[in-house]
């Protein structure tokens, strides 16, 4: 009975992207940024980034063209809600089905 390595199986891990699993699989709605409306993309200035601030999963980059990592974006829609330029639209994930993603 037993190997003496008690408690070796527990929830304990190095932190990093993906440690919680590929959470992008949970997504029903996908946030898509319209770069024509997005302030930093439009003005070429490091401005706004409300989406980057508010995304609870930290999956949006703080770059002149903000980029969303769909591998981990859960589709909560907070970024779309917080975007002052209404540049982010939540689109049914099923609409992308045929893209072979």
């Amino acid at each position: 009975m037993g190997n003496g390595k008690y408690g070796s199986v527990k929830s304990h891990s190095d932190p990093g992207p993906g440690d919680g699993g590929k959470t992008g699989l949970w997504r029903v709605l996908r946030p898509v940024i319209d770069l024509e409306k997005c302030i930093p993309a439009k003005t070429d200035k490091m401005a706004c980034f409300n989406c980057w601030v508010y995304c609870p999963d930290g999956v949006i980059t703080k770059t002149i063209q903000p980029v969303i990592d769909y591998e981990y974006c859960k589709g909560c829609g907070i970024c779309a809600e917080e975007c002052p330029a209404k540049a982010i639209t939540m689109i049914e994930e099923s609409d992308f089905k045929n893209e072979g993603e």
Binding site: Y6, S8, V9, K10, S11, H12, S13, P15, D19
Partner: protein
């Protein structure tokens, strides 16, 4: 050194000798004098620990969970509704595999409001994943508290040391205080596999999905079910480890030898009473009285209830004609929880003894020796018929 003191002081002294580093507790009758004693030890410099006052039991155990996660030896204590108030964290501490030790001075659970002794509080936490030890006297309390830290840290499973409120917590009894240096030689300082460290951040007990998944290194990480199964397997191993710990304790302190079941006159017994806590010593008088009348009675006090010492218990009970389980708790709508466990343990035995169940002492209802005597005598003589419903001792209406 021998002293005469209360069970609560025995517990506090054990915690001090075990060099607990963090104590967080919220006072509740009948546990209160234990926490008062510990705060006195800390305040007077007799004990080098952080005493963290909290506003509730839920916080008390939360503090211990945090402390144990940083690698500190942590202790708390409670009773009754206080234990139930921390119940969420009780489960958490076990799942997180933190070796916290908690004393439970057993008390009835409201409603109606009642501060007296029974064991419904800790029995209701039976399936939380904690090891549960039950003491029958003050010597048991202090010895088990010291052993509990060892067992908890070895198994990475928290341990409850339960003792009857008032009957043990507030009564004075002589007991031996183990020598400090000897306790140090028995119980090494706590050295966790991992202690919270900003230089080496880790994820602990984050959302774990139903299925297994790869960690960031690409290795398969256990899912919830693997983690919980491991808790169960390690719990079963704790039975063996407790035997080893008991041996080691016996070598150093000269006390022990019955880590699972403390049997009194059971070797030749035809009938054996089984129970938890101080009742097993109370029943010794009844056993002696029945033996004078020629009834070969014995009594077994179960020392560890979870993990359940089924094999050790079967070894004691298997040649008896009858087993009588007496309990200060009940699984409402079914029967005494211990009764069900004893019957399950005996199931593989070919010539099974009959098993009777008595519920008694709820909410501190006085347990009269004469009532115990009559009940046991009735079970031994009147019928061997299978009575599968609990009978009650001491009901007045």
């Amino acid at each position: 050194m021998h002293i005469i003191e209360t069970g609560n002081v025995a517990a506090a002294t054990g915690v001090k000798l075990a060099r607990a580093q963090v104590v967080a507790a919220y006072p509740i009758t009948p546990q209160t004098p234990l926490t008062e004693k510990l705060s006195e030890f800390v305040e007077s410099g007799k004990m080098e620990a952080q005493y963290i006052p909290v506003e509730s039991e839920h916080s008390a155990l939360s503090v211990c969970i945090a402390a144990a996660s940083t690698g500190a030896r942590a202790f708390t204590a409670t009773s009754s509704n206080g234990l139930l108030y921390m119940s969420e964290q009780v489960h958490w501490a076990a799942g997180a595999r933190l070796p916290i030790v908690m004393c439970v001075a057993n008390r009835a659970v409201g409603a109606p409001w009642n501060i007296w002794n029974d064991q419904q509080d800790s029995i209701s936490q039976r399936d939380a994943g904690w090891i549960q030890m039950y003491a029958s006297d003050h010597q048991h309390i202090i010895d088990k508290v010291i052993q509990a830290f060892y067992l908890a840290e070895k198994m990475k499973i928290p341990v409850m040391v339960c003792y009857d409120g008032y009957l043990l917590s507030h009564t004075y009894m002589p007991f031996e205080i183990p020598d400090e240096a000897m306790v140090d030689s028995f119980l090494p300082p706590f050295s966790p596999d991992y202690a919270l460290d900003p230089g080496d951040p880790q994820n602990l007990n984050t959302v774990t999905l139903p299925d297994v998944r790869e960690n960031i290194h690409g290795d398969l990480a256990p899912g919830y079910m693997e983690i919980r199964r491991s808790l169960h397997e390690d719990m079963r191993c704790a039975i063996v480890e407790l035997g080893e710990i008991d041996k080691k304790y016996y070598e150093i302190f000269g006390r022990g030898g019955s880590p699972y079941v403390e049997a009194y006159k059971c070797d030749d017994a035809s009938f054996i009473a089984v129970c938890l806590g101080s009742l097993s010593y109370h029943l010794r008088d009844v056993v002696d009285a029945l033996r004078v009348e020629g009834i070969k009675m014995g009594v077994s006090g179960i020392q560890i209830y979870r993990p359940f010492p089924d094999q050790a218990l079967v070894d004691v009970l298997k040649s008896a004609k009858g087993v009588i389980v007496l309990e200060k708790a009940i699984s409402y709508g079914n029967q005494g929880a211990l009764f069900a466990d004893v019957k399950a343990a005996l199931y593989p035995v070919k010539e099974r003894p009959f098993v009777h169940n008595y519920i008694l002492g709820l909410g501190g209802r006085e347990i009269k020796t004469i009532d115990l005597y009559n009940a046991l005598k009735d079970s031994c003589t009147a019928s061997e018929a299978k009575v599968d419903t609990p009978r009650w001792i001491g009901l007045k209406l």
